[in-house]
Symmetry: C2
Subunit: 259 residues, 2 copies
């Protein structure tokens, strides 16, 4: 039987809030067995861009990453956010190791092709190095991934953290029984964006199609859900979307996605 592997992804709202981040890291530290953390940091990157007089450019929720912006996200994601989280996890006795996709050649990607929009140094994932990551997990380390990949030819690339989390969950599902957990500020996927209590507790392929047709799910949630179902189709056991309550065994107030 395959060993369980838990992959958690946290977004900007948790990272921005010192108290919530600390609470999350405590709960994450308490999770037994092999685990991986993936973090974003887009809000902090946009703050630094503003401080440096660079206007952040986003199209369809994706960042246009020119060379200066790449330097900034490399500093914020790979440096400030990643190392701060690693140090805090060490303080909680979790033997964390911070990684980008370039580290240990763990996630390779290619520069996104220019069609109508040139996203610059944005990377679309080719695949992950499951063997290397398994070796790192097997010596008892907990990888903490930032939202950077590389093209294996020397170039760093900016890659969406949700995508990295799902690529890791899919790529490691041949060796582990992987559960993918998206932690954010809401209790789960909402049926009505204006009603925080309208959490949909279970979405399967059928109800997903229905929700898409109804057009009730918030636009920002759509690529996330699409990613989740792709992950499930490609070997991930379960996907959960919710707030820090995901860690509580008796809690059922989150969104569980299954095929």
């Amino acid at each position: 039987m395959k060993k369980k592997l838990f992959i958690f992804k946290i977004g900007s709202n948790i990272i921005e809030n010192d108290v919530q981040l600390r609470q999350f890291l405590k709960l994450f530290s308490a999770v037994a067995g092999p685990k991986i953390l993936v973090h974003g940091g887009g809000k902090k990157a946009s703050e630094l861009l503003h401080q440096l007089g660079i206007e952040p450019k986003m199209v369809h929720g994706r960042r246009i990453t020119d060379i200066k912006t790449l330097d900034v996200v490399t500093m914020v994601y790979g440096g400030l956010v990643n190392k701060t989280i690693v140090a805090q996890l060490q303080g909680l006795n979790t033997d964390a190791i911070g990684m980008s996709g370039a580290d240990a050649n763990s996630i390779s990607a290619h520069k996104r092709q220019v069609k109508d929009i040139d996203y610059g140094f944005a990377g679309d994932v080719n695949g992950i190095n499951a063997q290397r990551l398994t070796e790192i997990l097997n010596i008892g380390l907990t990888p903490v991934f930032c939202a950077l990949t590389h093209d294996q030819k020397g170039q760093l690339l900016n890659t969406n953290a949700d995508t990295i989390a799902s690529a890791l969950a899919v790529g490691l599902s041949s060796l582990f029984k992987t559960t993918l957990n998206y932690c954010f500020e809401l209790d789960g996927v909402l049926k009505d964006i204006h009603d925080k209590a309208s959490v949909i507790q279970k979405i399967d392929s059928k109800s997903y199609e229905k929700l898409l047709k109804e057009g009730s799910i918030a636009e920002g949630m759509l690529p996330k859900l699409h990613n989740c179902f792709e992950a499930l189709k490609n070997g991930v056991s379960e996907v959960r979307i919710g707030n820090l309550g995901l860690f509580e065994q008796e809690n059922t107030n989150y969104t569980r996605l299954v095929l």
Copy 2:
């Protein structure tokens, strides 16, 4: 017989110069067997501080690291410089993994005690995690260290890169035959700072004392040399100081330090 381990430290002048950095990384990639790279990045950190309207503060060549400065060095050392080097090494088929002292709990330190000067979040090294680093080396990874450590309680600390290189060389000398190489813009330690050809090819404890008394060695070089002799006294086999020519077998124009 112990396996050889080469530790290289590069300073700001190489890091600032894309052509030299690329040349260094090519030579470093070609070194066979286990190896570790340690890099600084002080000049780039000072540049970013200036851009953010923060005046860099240095006392006796050491940076005063207030909390904002810590964020900046974490971004520059742990993010921009570290990840750029790791990606370039991957492009050269060296399976690099970027690390701070917090990663894998590899280098623990304590906040420098305040005597006459408060250096802020500056860390003095307690020790290194030789077992963990050996595991990482043994799976074929090449650690690339930036100049950050941690206090094991959640706090990152800014630590001189020369010190990190020598702590690694000393700490790993019980398991490896370690050679410590300091690469910088000069051919070696100069007898006369105004004469670049005055490289001292060998310094031992005796001639070191003599040079100290004569007062001819540049002030900036003194803590470096002190560090080197401490490393030699504590198990390091050899220390070499020079430019990229250190990598050429027939080159003897560098400074070799022995006890």
